[in-house]
């Protein structure tokens, strides 16, 4: 299990090569990269920040859960923080498994769940301003309704 938060360029080839073993028949890789636009607005770069200790702990938990839920053999989950330019990898997920179905499902579940539950944010720098990217709302079991919604 390789779970990391890093400030450096993610060495994708190395991570993929390292994870493979003789009993694997399928490797599924998700590479999340910085896109040159958001809804047509031109992006210059992104700044990623995290609640670092908690994010790493949550990522470890997701990797363990993926192995248990989908029966895959091995998982790598690496997120980069700091300033990333267009084309760079912000998150890399690699899943190795005997069979492809489990590899795909675990990989998809990992990125979907990571993006909803791991405390990492990105600020997008456009040519004409910067915004914190709209996040997907937290799942109900995590969200804390504001006081006005509780009454």
């Amino acid at each position: 299990m390789r779970v990391e938060i890093t400030d450096e360029v993610i060495a994708a080839e190395e991570i993929v090569a390292e994870i493979k073993a003789g009993e694997d028949g399928a490797v599924c890789v998700f590479d999340g990269i910085v896109r040159n636009n958001t809804r047509g607005r031109k992006t210059l770069y992104l700044d990623y920040e995290a609640y670092r200790e908690m994010a790493l702990e949550k990522m470890r938990g997701l990797a363990d859960e993926a192995v248990e839920r989908f029966g895959v053999r091995e998982v790598a989950l690496v997120h980069r923080l700091g300033r990333l330019v267009v084309g760079e990898t912000s998150v890399l997920i690699v899943v190795a498994s005997a069979h492809r179905g489990a590899a795909f499902e675990a990989c998809r579940w990992l990125i979907d769940t990571l993006k909803k539950t791991v405390p990492i944010w990105k600020k997008e720098q456009f040519v004409d301003g910067a915004i914190w990217a709209d996040g997907e709302p937290f799942p109900d079991e995590i969200a804390v309704a504001g006081p006005e919604r509780q009454g």
């Binding site: 979907d112 993006k115 791991v118 914190w132 937290f138 079991e141 504001g146 006081p147």
Partner: protein, 84 residues
């Protein structure tokens, strides 16, 4: 009692800092802390309605009662589920 409050993302920009110590009444809950912070920042309501809170690095419910020395993090929705 004193707790340590961490701000992230848009909240960090809004408060102009990433961390501060806050004095709360004994028995104060996560909801009480949010109400106090909300009073100090007239930002968009949606953030407060869709955020999460972590106490000592675990997601916590609004009714959770805080204790002296807790690390409480206010977390805006995480990065862009519908973005890629």
């Amino acid at each position: 009692m004193r707790v340590r409050v961490l701000y992230f993302g848009v909240l960090k920009d809004a408060f102009g800092r990433g961390v501060e110590e806050m004095e709360l009444a004994e028995g104060a809950s996560v909801a009480d802390l949010i109400a106090a912070c909300r009073g100090r920042y007239a930002g968009v309501r949606e953030i407060w309605d869709s955020m999460a809170v972590a106490v000592n690095q675990e997601y916590a419910r609004a009714e959770m009662v805080l204790r002296e020395g807790d690390e409480v993090a206010l977390l805006p929705p995480v990065s862009g589920g519908f973005d890629w």
